[in-house]
């Protein structure tokens, strides 16, 4: 049940969330120092890195599909734009010619270098940040242009049109005539990536490989939550529940749909940039519609309409597919050794069966439409009631 909150409770929740996030970030920073790449536990960091990318992607998709009721399947396309923008503008000039081995690179500067030369190490970090924001802005700009014609379409037509646009974007990025910018269909690499994110303080060196993506995801998700809880967010939900009624209430449909679409795509672009920095490569052929479907399934797993659900869903999805279920692919799982059954691909079969079960029998997903804070609030209220009854 969705709880109506008092202002007092709202304030408490905000602070609680803030401190919880801060504590989590601290923990991640600590883990980053403690776990070395050669340790078996490093998979935990991999999951945190990839999970935060998908969490942001899923939350931004949820903003559109869950909160506004616009069923769009163009997410992979916007992530592609973000990843390419980020990659192109952070390749150091020394590596540019090796990366663009078949083309004459057109973009010849990188933000981390430009700012780094002017302001030192802080400038390098600023340069990365600028590139990430630019990645989001580019995705949002494309979303605005695409939104003009397609947002008029209804439900499944919108879905298939956005899917189509994502495929068109992918083809355009692979076109050899754009090679000087996009490196054709070849991969982009050597740009600013997580393995290079380090903070040197005198003699101590802090590794930030996991901290940075988690931080970007946390800040972005906080902004999205703020948006959802604002008047805009309420207008989105009104549109989702009943377009005609919402319009009658004086909500400008076109404007609000466009805001939701561009904001969602902005963060999809940021997620794309994070994807590039985590994978340390960017290539258009990876951003297929299958990626959109996966993100959609994460949203469904967490519960459509719930931000915290999307976050939980994506971390579970990534952890299960990258880590916990890996044994299903390599012969031994839960101590059972059956190489003939547990061979390559079994993990994904088990995984898709689980997802089908969720889709068919637990349509609410893990969280339904609730948020973690609702759960927490309900518990608190129940406790208080008990206390009062006890008096």
């Amino acid at each position: 049940m969705k709880a109506v909150r008092t202002p007092e409770e709202n304030r408490r929740i905000s602070w609680f969330c803030f401190f919880a996030t801060l504590a989590f970030l601290g923990l991640v920073l600590l883990l980053d120092q403690l776990i070395k790449p050669t340790s078996p536990m490093y998979m935990l960091l991999t999951v945190l890195q990839k999970g935060s990318v998908y969490a942001l992607a899923a939350v931004s998709m949820n903003l559109l599909n869950g909160c506004t009721g616009l069923f769009s399947l163009g997410h992979a396309g916007f992530m592609l734009i973000g990843a390419y923008t980020y990659a192109i503008f952070t390749i150091p000039s020394a590596s540019r010619d090796t990366v663009y081995q078949y083309y004459d690179a057109a973009v010849r500067f990188s933000f981390p270098e430009v700012f780094g030369n002017a302001m030192g190490p802080a400038g390098t970090a600023l340069g990365v940040l600028v590139a990430v924001i630019l990645a989001g802005l580019m995705a949002a700009a494309f979303a605005y242009l695409i939104g003009l014609p397609v947002l008029r379409l209804k439900s499944d037509y919108l879905a298939i049109a956005t899917l189509g646009f994502a495929e068109i974007l992918r083809a355009v990025c692979q076109w050899q005539k754009l090679g000087p910018i996009t490196n054709g269909s070849n991969l982009l690499k050597s740009f600013a990536r997580v393995s290079k994110f380090k903070l040197v303080l005198g003699s101590t060196k802090l590794t930030l490989s996991t901290f940075v993506p988690v931080l970007i995801a946390a800040v972005s998700i906080m902004i999205i939550v703020k948006l959802i809880n604002s008047t805009y967010g309420r207008a989105f939900k009104a549109i989702r529940d009943d377009e005609v009624a919402a319009e009658a209430m004086g909500i400008n449909l076109a404007k609000h749909k466009m805001i939701s679409f561009t904001v969602s795509s902005f963060f999809a672009g940021v997620a794309g940039a994070m994807m590039a920095m985590v994978l340390s490569i960017a290539q258009a052929s990876n951003f297929k519609s299958a990626m959109t479907y996966e993100i959609l399934l994460m949203v469904v797993l967490g519960g459509i309409g719930s931000t915290s659900g999307s976050v939980i869903g994506s971390f579970l999805f990534v952890a299960a597919s990258e880590w916990w279920l890996r044994g299903l692919d390599s012969g031994t799982f839960l101590g059972i050794n059956a190489p003939n059954i547990f061979r390559n691909g079994f993990r994904l079969v088990v995984f898709s069966v689980i997802i089908m079960i969720v889709v068919l029998f637990f349509r609410q997903g893990i969280m339904g439409e609730r948020e973690l804070t609702d759960v927490w609030l309900n518990r608190r209220r129940a406790r208080q009631k008990k206390k009062e009854a006890g008096k």
Partner: protein, 306 residues
């Protein structure tokens, strides 16, 4: 000039015929359930895989009917298990379920094949080499459009002149009313899925005989293109879907050869890589039609219900 373009046209018509057989499944299901059956393309791929394994175990004369029966059974089961329980759920849930089924089928295929390319068996006679208009090609390329048109005519006859066909038309016109009129909705829907998957199975045999390699993602792109063909022709309309599919098939084939055509023509002097857009162009067509004529070429006008 003719000699340059003709091979592309013939290959395009052939691909178009194969898309058409898939597109009918999409358009019929959408007409009745208002559902984009994302799993349809993967059913097409599974039919191809089943043929690979069946042909290895038994003679083709047994394998072909068996594969068709199994494919139809698969389509029937998918509807029963994954779509029927969600009949009253919001449309988005059913579409998500369809995406889930597609994900499952692809992963299952990945597991069974070990992710390797499987060679499709050669069906004798139709995969032989023939010379048409001074051009070498395989017989299947020539047969496909004729077989497609023949099957479509049969289907249209079925829909217009049989009881089940009448029921289908009634259901697609209005779901609730036809239910009240005593039409057994469930059997109509099952029949739709059976016809759709039957045609997809035939389409898969033609397609994979022509392009003999089956991988888990083989069905994804043809499936999407067939769906676009269905939208392009006007969703719910069978002739529309067929014409849409032929247009898309020919356009795709021409774009792949466009660089060469233009060079031979003398319009351009070097490759400009237009073949990159052979898949994307399908979606450009889709968006153009959605924006300017959302009901497609032959679609009926429907009013939006509140």
């Amino acid at each position: 000039m003719d000699k340059t373009i003709l091979p592309y046209l013939i290959s395009g018509v052939s691909v178009g015929g194969q898309y058409a057989l898939i597109a009918i499944g999409y358009t019929m299901v959408y007409g009745i359930l208002r559902l984009i059956n994302f799993a349809h393309g993967d059913v097409f791929m599974v039919a191809g895989l089943m043929m690979v394994y069946a042909a290895a175990a038994m003679p083709l004369s047994l394998a072909i009917p068996l594969v068709i029966i199994l494919t139809v059974l698969l389509g029937f089961t998918i509807e029963r298990v994954a779509y029927r329980p969600l009949r009253t759920a919001p449309r988005m849930s059913v579409m998500i379920s369809a995406i889930g089924v597609s994900y499952l089928l692809q992963n299952l295929a990945l597991y069974i094949t070990g992710g390797l390319n499987k060679n499709y068996p050669q069906i004798p006679w139709i995969s032989d080499r023939v010379t048409v208009l001074g051009m070498e090609t395989s017989r299947v390329t020539i047969i496909t459009p004729f077989l497609t048109v023949f099957l479509v005519v049969l289907l249209v006859l079925l829909i217009n002149h049989t009881k089940i066909g009448m029921a289908m038309r009634a259901v697609s016109l209005n779901f609730e009313t036809s239910q009240l009129m005593g039409i057994r909705i469930n059997s109509v829907i099952s029949a739709t899925f059976i016809i759709g998957t039957f045609l997809a199975a035939v389409g898969s045999m033609l397609f994979f005989t022509n392009y003999p390699g089956v991988v888990p993602t083989s069905g994804a792109m043809p499936g999407l293109k067939a769906f676009v063909a269905a939208v392009f022709g006007g969703i719910g309309s069978i002739p529309g879907a067929v014409i849409g599919a032929f247009i898309i098939g020919i356009a795709e084939s021409l774009i792949k050869g466009l660089d060469t055509i233009l060079i031979v023509n003398g319009t351009i002097t070097e490759q400009i890589g237009l073949a990159t857009f052979s898949d994307a162009f399908t979606f450009v067509l889709l968006i153009i039609i959605l924006v300017f004529k959302p009901t497609g070429l032959f679609g009926e006008k429907t009013t939006d219900k509140v």
